[in-house]
């Protein structure tokens, strides 16, 4: 498992970006949270810095918490065998965050999926289209305000 000291990473990031970078949870659930304005910079630092080398974006997803949308980046460093979770939040109205496709091209489909299912715009994404739902679909099914219902096409 990961031998990374998340408090050390936190201290280093706080020295650079101030108190807005915070730690959430503990143990396996520990995660750093940063404002969307710095998120790409911070992820870039985690990717390139010698002592972190988080070269893999394992998983990227978002959660609708009704008041805000939370984005979760699960990073993994193959050379150093350590993992870290980074989060960021944005408001529900005109939800948008910067895209990380420039850092990890693997984010491409995952961001499209979040755009499709949760209705978040990723700024700087090369090809932001729906990926699972049909193009003419207008809603975002994974939002909590969307009620899953029977389509009622056949009633027998």
């Amino acid at each position: 498992m990961s031998n990374l000291d998340i408090n050390r990473v936190l201290a280093e990031l706080q020295a650079q970006y101030g108190e807005e970078v915070k730690l959430l949870g503990e143990g396996a659930q520990a995660a750093l949270i940063a404002p969307t304005t710095y998120i790409v910079e911070i992820l870039g630092l985690l990717k390139t810095k010698e002592s972190y080398q988080f070269n893999m974006l394992r998983n990227l997803t978002a959660v609708d918490y009704l008041e805000y949308m939370e984005f979760v980046y699960h990073l993994y460093s193959l050379p150093l065998r350590q993992a870290i979770t980074v989060k960021t939040r944005c408001g529900m109205e005109d939800a948008e965050v910067p895209s990380v496709t420039a850092l990890w091209p693997s984010a491409n489909f995952q961001e499209r999926e979040i755009y499709d299912l949760l209705g978040v715009k990723f700024i700087g994404h090369p090809d932001l289209r729906r990926i699972l739902m049909p193009e003419e679909f207008t809603e975002h099914p994974l939002r909590k305000t969307y009620k899953a219902h029977n389509t009622g096409e056949k009633t027998w």
Binding site: M56, H74, P105, Q110
Partner: protein, 365 residues
């Protein structure tokens, strides 16, 4: 002066070699591929949304229907994530049973890969042979849990039932026969010159690029990157076993084929070791009747036959997950399709698709 222009061809969604309902929109210049854009969603069932209105236990059968040729792995990944969230320890015998089942399922899944690769490239006998051996594994699963494909065998805290007495002798027989079966396939396919020339040097993905684009599983290891979660972050009791991670060198279709063939050998060896070491005892821990994980979120991933299968669960302390996200390897692996196919002949698209081995049940979660 001859005027030429590119044209568009729809491959799928109803095409036998897309392994389900994948549509690839090909832009072609004669027979050369300019673009191969995958369009998915034809099998989208909204499993992540469904999870939010199901209890934790009710969601187990849905995991069977993600990557439906390796359901044991899906069950395991999901159950282990919930166990991680709740801090449940699994009895040792159950851990061994889980490993035996998952490794057998890995063999079954790779046999389907082998069979479908062969038939996609025109060698229909390969399919028959692959399915013949897979049947033996499905019979074993049938004995253990009564289902051939959608098992729901692995549950929170252990497995649904201990194996019946006739299981072990049958598994012994299968493991004894397996090296000969594998040798037969190597003779039939690996030694086949046509297959070799179709695959060798086709669809090369460099290790660097494979990492960037998020490939995992055999497709990543074929490009020479040693990332196998069973080794780098051993879950369950994988650290008790002695096995190696087969790696490719150049990352072409041939390497992806060979890596999977070698992995079957390793899986059989893990199953053998697990069978020899398996203790007697309970197969189910004492778990609460109502599964109510504490408030929190957790990500956990396992090595499935197609790559890193991850579950991200957010619990609000109720009986249903607040949010459940599945990191599906097939979905993320498909990203590499377009750039790999560019410049290849139209017939090679089939080879690239078959060796990436994406399964649509998992792509369209």
């Amino acid at each position: 002066m001859v005027k030429t222009e590119t044209y568009t061809l729809n491959m799928g969604p109803q095409h036998p070699s897309t392994h389900g309902v994948l549509q690839v929109v090909l832009e072609l210049d004669g027979e050369l591929v300019i673009q191969a854009v995958p369009h998915m969603g034809y099998l989208h069932r909204g499993i992540e949304k469904l999870a939010e209105s199901r209890t934790y236990a009710q969601f187990i059968p849905y995991t069977d229907r993600l990557d439906y040729v390796s359901s044991m792995g899906n069950n395991w990944g999901y159950c282990q994530t919930v166990e991680k969230l709740m801090g449940i320890t699994v009895p040792e015998r159950a851990e061994y049973l889980r490993i035996i089942m998952t490794e057998l399922n890995r063999i079954a899944s790779h046999l389907i890969f082998m069979g479908s690769l062969a038939i996609d490239l025109g060698a229909s006998t390969g399919m028959m042979f692959g399915f013949r051996s897979r049947e033996r594994i499905l019979d074993l699963f049938d004995m253990a849990c009564g289902a051939r494909q959608t098992y729901s065998y692995i549950r929170f805290g252990g497995v649904s039932a201990d194996i019946p007495p006739e299981f072990i002798p049958e598994l012994e027989r299968f493991l004894a026969d397996f090296p000969a079966m594998l040798a037969e396939y190597h003779e039939l396919l690996t030694g086949n010159e046509i297959l070799y020339h179709r695959l060798k040097g086709t669809g090369v993905i460099s290790g660097q690029r494979a990492l960037e684009i998020g490939l995992t599983g055999p497709a990543l290891r074929a490009s020479g990157v040693a990332y196998d979660i069973r080794k780098v972050e051993p879950y369950g009791i994988y650290d008790h076993f002695d096995f190696s991670v087969p790696l490719g060198q150049v990352g072409d279709c041939w390497d992806r084929y060979i890596v999977r063939m070698e992995e079957m050998k390793q899986s059989a060896s893990i199953a053998r070791q697990a069978l020899d070491q398996m203790p007697e005892g309970q197969v189910m821990a004492k778990i609460p009747k109502v599964i109510k994980p504490p408030v929190g979120d957790v990500y956990h991933s396992i090595e499935n036959p197609r790559g890193e299968l991850g579950f991200y669960i957010v619990s609000d302390g109720s009986t249903k997950p607040y949010r459940l996200h599945v990191r599906r390897p097939s979905f993320i692996n498909l990203q590499v399709l377009n750039e790999t196919c560019q410049g290849l002949l139209i017939g090679d698209v089939v080879a690239v698709l078959a060796t990436l081995d994406s399964l649509m049940g998992e792509v369209d979660c």
